[in-house]
């Protein structure tokens, strides 16, 4: 009798949490599960001259340790989020260092924030979907982007 109760209580909590979920798009629902391959987001003022989000995405995606890359190019800094193939996760630090060096060499004037965190990836996809649906104006997007950056910098 007790045992049943103990299984049921957490299950109910889980279901309740599941139902309370905000309306996520298709991509964010599966963002943790598999490859989503999102197009980069560019929040720059004059995309014609300053845009390089696509280029970064293309180049970073070539790294064989990764299987999914998302890029947000903000006004001042650029966020690169990536998912590492599972068996390569032992070497996450090395991969990050390698990427950092590569980007610093290639775009010495830009600030980069690198993250392999699922949460950051998820939030990136959510932002992308909101922009696509048009439910969020561009200037709010920059603020949202700053929120993601702040989240990334939080330690434990």
């Amino acid at each position: 009798m007790n045992k049943k109760r103990i299984i049921i209580v957490p299950l109910t909590i889980l279901v309740l949490i599941g139902c309370a979920n905000k309306q996520d798009g298709n991509d964010s629902k599966i963002a943790l599960m598999k490859k989503t391959d999102p197009p980069p987001i560019e929040l720059v003022d004059n995309p014609e001259t300053d845009s390089y989000g696509h280029a970064i995405k293309r180049e970073i995606s070539k790294m064989k340790e990764l299987y999914d890359v998302a890029v947000i190019q903000g006004k001042e800094e650029t966020l690169v989020v990536y998912k590492v193939k599972h068996l390569q996760r032992f070497h996450m630090k090395k991969i990050e260092k390698k990427m950092d060096r590569y980007l610093e060499d290639k775009y010495p004037d830009e600030d980069f924030i690198l993250s392999s965190d699922y949460k950051i990836f998820l939030e990136t996809i959510r932002l992308k979907e909101k922009l696509k649906k048009g439910s969020i104006p561009k200037k709010d997007a920059e603020k949202k982007f700053q929120d993601i950056v702040k989240l990334q910098k939080e330690k434990t």
Partner: protein, 156 residues
């Protein structure tokens, strides 16, 4: 410390007794520990993802609420008298995960309630878990001290 050498008679008896002693079922115990311990960690991973997905936690920061949730589950299982049965079945499988740490604290707290909240609960709550904290802190102190000195000397 009672370390007097064994007499020949005692040695002989020890051999005799060994023949009749029920052996611990090692393989069975190891398998049970593996599956139950793995299951606890799996639950932990599920909770981590729930915190990442539905709350504002990153992989880095989700660890703390996950641990707290696991300890909470451990409190329920201990309070309803289930955890000691899991422990008898799984051995290290339920002792090594943080739920086991929680169980050792919570079971001591519940048990010593009869001696009052201050002397009983307060005085005995770390009766079992205290050694883990003491050795954890002291070994961490030594490790961190050595590492810090090495860093300051420029060795690493």
């Amino acid at each position: 410390m009672g370390k007097s050498p064994k007499t020949p008679e005692q040695k002989k008896y020890e051999q005799l007794e060994k023949q009749y002693e029920t052996k611990r079922p090692l393989l069975k115990n190891v398998l049970k520990a593996f599956f139950v311990g793995g299951f606890f960690c799996l639950i932990g991973q599920v909770i981590t993802y729930i915190f990442i997905y539905f709350f504002n936690f990153t992989e880095q920061t989700a660890g703390n609420p996950t641990v707290a949730t696991m300890v909470f589950i451990s409190m329920l299982l201990t309070g309803f008298g289930v955890y000691d049965h899991i422990g008898q079945f799984a051995g290290a499988g339920s002792a090594v995960p943080v739920t086991g740490f929680g169980n050792s604290v919570i079971s001591a707290a519940i048990e010593h309630k009869t001696e009052g909240y201050v002397l009983g609960v307060g005085g005995n709550i770390f009766k079992l878990a205290g050694s883990v904290i003491v050795f954890g802190v002291f070994s961490a102190f030594i490790v961190a001290l050595i590492k810090t000195i090495l860093i300051q000397l420029g060795v690493i």
